[in-house]
């Protein structure tokens, strides 16, 4: 009998210890980031572009690049994904809808480096050079699954009565969907958008062979463009202390963006489900 009690105690202590160990890295990484990053957060970081070692440089071109690339990715991904999500929710029994649901789950599992290769073959090779647009397309593919799932799920949660009421008043399917269903599902859809945005903002691998990086401030989306993750990768793997400093500062900015967006989207989920 005693062993049972001991086993129970060991088990409880075990799962608590392991759970604490699981979330410990979050705090360790955040503390490391703050320790190194706070010193690097200065005006240079956000007002200067990348410079060779020895000259005062910053991350302005990468910050601007990240904003441009992710915004365009969102613009490309959201209409297709939302419409596909509506189809999955409205016609769940159709074959295409089932394939779409499965496919979007599988897209979520594609290794990001493979997306980089494929978009390189689709865009960079035919267009004859790296471009921010290619980077946006690669990130847009990564955004699809979250938005499709969020749209489909939030539409399925809407009571049938709304749709029936709208149809009985004479509105056709199109009007019902656009004027009744989508407005009701909008908070859920936006949550999906935000969470997929926070997922792609930190992606590096799909950008390596597409947007490539650029030490200059570039606003032309048909030319190579830098992004925060690319800057962090290049500077972190360099041997220079000075560049490491900038990489820490850039990491801190990046993680603030990612956490902020993902926390907002989590709060959205809570409000929406309540």
């Amino acid at each position: 009998m005693k062993t049972r009690k001991y086993m129970d105690k060991i088990f409880k202590a075990g799962i608590i210890t392991f759970s604490i160990l699981t979330i410990a890295p979050l705090f360790i990484i955040l503390i490391t980031l703050l320790k190194w990053g706070i010193n690097a957060l200065n005006l240079d970081l956000i007002t200067r572009i990348q410079r060779p070692v020895g000259e005062r440089g910053g991350a302005l071109n990468s910050i601007v690049g990240t904003l441009i690339i992710t915004t365009i990715a969102t613009i490309i991904a959201s209409p297709i994904s939302i419409l596909a999500g509506v189809y999955v929710a409205e016609f769940p029994d159709k074959l295409i809808s089932k394939i779409t649901a499965v496919s979007s789950r599988l897209i979520a599992g594609i290794p990001s480096i493979v997306i980089g290769i494929v978009v390189y073959l689709w865009c960079v090779k035919p267009m004859g050079g790296y471009s921010a647009l290619a980077g946006s397309i690669a990130l847009a593919i990564m955004m699809i699954p979250n938005i499709v799932t969020a749209t489909a799920e939030s539409i399925m949660m809407i009571p049938k009565d709304y749709r029936e009421a709208s149809r009985s008043l004479g509105a056709n399917f199109t009007r019902t969907t656009l004027k009744v269903i989508i407005p009701f599902a909008l908070p859920g859809i936006l949550t999906g958008l935000l969470s997929s945005f926070s997922r792609i903002a930190g992606e590096t691998a799909p950008l390596l062979f597409t947007s490539f990086g650029n030490p200059f401030l570039n606003l032309n989306i048909l030319k190579p463009m830098s992004a925060l993750p690319l800057l962090i990768y290049n500077y972190a793997t360099s041997p220079y202390r000075e560049w490491h400093q900038i990489a820490w500062g850039a990491s801190l900015i990046l993680i603030l963006i990612v956490f902020l967006v993902s926390i907002i989207s989590r709060l959205g989920v809570k409000k929406w489900k309540a």
């Binding site: 086993m7 129970d8 088990f11 699981t22 979330i23 596909a84 897209i107 594609i110 290769i117 073959l121």
Partner: protein, 311 residues
């Protein structure tokens, strides 16, 4: 439809365009076609990826055949393309990371299932997990390089290995941290689906937490938990940036568990931009191999989850 309107004319004797369709119906028809087209676009992505990768790796496969997968020397300058070291390292690193992550993800899942734990603690746990999942992989790599590698260096010295700091084990540790959230969240979702009655019956019969969790909840939830592990394995296999930064970029079999190596993904990340011709085609072929492997794990994992949810 056009037939039934034949002979009828609109105002001024001319048939207005599309008048043969009722406005409501035509609107619906067009809208549904747009929806269908978007869905179709999403559903062909996987297929398009397969075709693209296959076509671009064909020159390589035609010249070197599939034996590139089992030969050992990777030396693009001398046109020797043996991918076995990378395939072995990829599988080794991913499986070690998965095995290491299992006790952690199961513990988290059990803890969120515990009844006498305040909601606030559970909330903190899930929020932390979500944030761990949200940290960009390049930051994991940077952290691994700067904070973890020195610790590994000390460990390597103690064990009598060359103190590189970076290497297989460093990559495994970083990967473990990165994949725990996925399997933990799936495991706890699946455990939530276990009927309360079973749990209550177990407690009512006098079983304690340990017995209820391991002998009642775990067996019922096992297929879903397995699915979570498969999905995490898929993610580990394809993880690129963090691994690239801490694995040491060494194009041969790692000499020991702490030694440097290269996974398929890190090899591609390191060499693709400089590669051309056959070298590039070879890297694309490895990308296809990686894609197929992860596709199998993801497909099986998702299938298990869908079946679980439907029950």
């Amino acid at each position: 439809m056009i037939k039934s309107f034949k002979g009828k004319t609109g105002e001024g004797g001319i048939l207005p365009p599309f008048a043969f369709l009722k406005r409501n119906k035509s609107e619906d028809f067009i809208f549904i076609q747009i929806l269908k087209a978007s869905a179709l676009l999403v559903s062909i992505v996987i297929f398009a990826f397969l075709v693209t990768l296959f076509l671009s790796s064909w020159p390589f496969v035609k010249t070197y055949g599939l034996r590139a997968l089992v030969s050992r020397v990777w030396d693009p300058i001398n046109e020797s393309y043996g991918a076995l070291p990378f395939i072995v390292t990829t599988i080794l690193v991913s499986i070690l990371a998965l095995l290491l992550s299992i006790p952690f993800s199961l513990s988290v899942a059990f803890l969120t299932k515990t009844r006498n734990l305040s909601e606030r603690v559970k909330d903190l746990l899930t929020t932390s997990l979500n944030l761990i999942a949200a940290i960009p992989s390049v930051i994991y790599g940077f952290w691994g390089l700067v904070a973890l590698a020195p610790i590994m260096r000390i460990l390597q010295l103690k064990l009598g290995y060359p103190p590189y700091g970076v290497g297989i084990m460093t990559a495994v540790l970083v990967l473990t941290i990165m994949i725990i959230p996925l399997s933990a969240s799936i495991a706890s979702e699946v455990m939530k689906l276990v009927p309360e009655e079973l749990e209550e019956a177990s407690y009512a019969l006098g079983a304690n937490t340990y017995e209820t969790n391991l002998k009642v909840i775990l067996p019922v939830a096992k297929s879903g938990i397995l699915a979570g592990f498969l999905l995490s394995l898929g993610r580990a296999l394809g993880e690129t940036m963090a691994v690239t930064m801490v694995i040491g970029n060494f194009n041969n079999f790692p000499s020991n568990l702490f030694g440097p190596g290269n996974t398929i993904a890190s090899l591609i990340a390191n060499q693709f931009n400089e590669a051309s011709g056959m070298h590039q085609s070879g890297l694309i072929f490895l990308g296809l191999v990686l894609f197929l492997i992860t596709l199998i794990f993801n497909f099986t994992g998702n299938l298990l989850i869908l079946r679980r949810v439907r029950k």
